[in-house]
Symmetry: C2
Subunit: 104 residues, 2 copies
DNA sequence: TCGACAATTAGCTAATTGTCTATTTATGAG
DNA sequence: CTCATAAATAGACAATTAGCTAATTGTCGA
């Protein structure tokens, strides 16, 4: 949990996650979108991977990263539940969980 | 946003927030629940205050902290919305927003 | 095998973090 | 005014972080 929030505390890393919303992208493709060196981006990827927020697969020369939605979901909603919000699955229209007012 | 996630990345600070769920508590009362020095706790309070997650009021010799629910809510749900979750207000039974499957 | 390319690792610096003890500030009681 | 209590500030220190350049590893095409 701490490692997830730590990972989310950097704007570059949050933007990487957003870039992965619609599918996997290579390390180079991701790095190209930011104004920092490749090794620096590689370190950011490592933080995200260690937090479990992304997973990587090697394909030829490239490494592709993809979002681990469920980890993001569990951290965000798991914490929110502590404060009385409630995850709802029942009325979902898009397939992702819903967080609703809890009885907590 | 970064400062909120940074604040949430420490377990001590998350527990402080949880302790404030049911109402304000003094700095001493909060500090007493943890196994670190008062000044260390004071630093944690400052991080939470700078992130906007808590506010403080002085009452006599004591300082009382209370949760700023809306800031927590906006950070958590604002970020979640980026990933297609949707905040719902309509079916809430406890008065807190609901996060549901988005069309995003 | 050689060269180019993609990505990570190594090694470094500067800045930030979490922790401590000691000190200071502010309030209230006698 | 003086003392005790609550909390924050100051100053020190070890550990971590984000960033860089340079070097290394792995994979392909010629």
């Amino acid at each position: 949990m701490s490692s997830v929030f730590k990972a989310l505390s950097d704007p570059t890393r949050r933007r990487v996650l957003e870039m992965l919303r619609d599918g996997p992208k290579s390390a180079g493709e991701l790095a190209g979108a930011f104004d920092v060196s490749k090794p620096t981006m590689s370190a950011h990827f490592a933080v995200l991977r260690d937090a479990g927020l992304v997973a990587s697969e090697k394909d030829g020369k490239s490494v592709f990263y993809h979002l681990q939605m469920s980890v993001l979901e569990d951290a965000l909603f798991g914490f929110a539940q502590t404060f009385g919000w409630e995850r709802r699955e029942d009325i979902s229209t898009t397939g992702r969980p819903v967080l609703k007012e809890g009885k907590a």
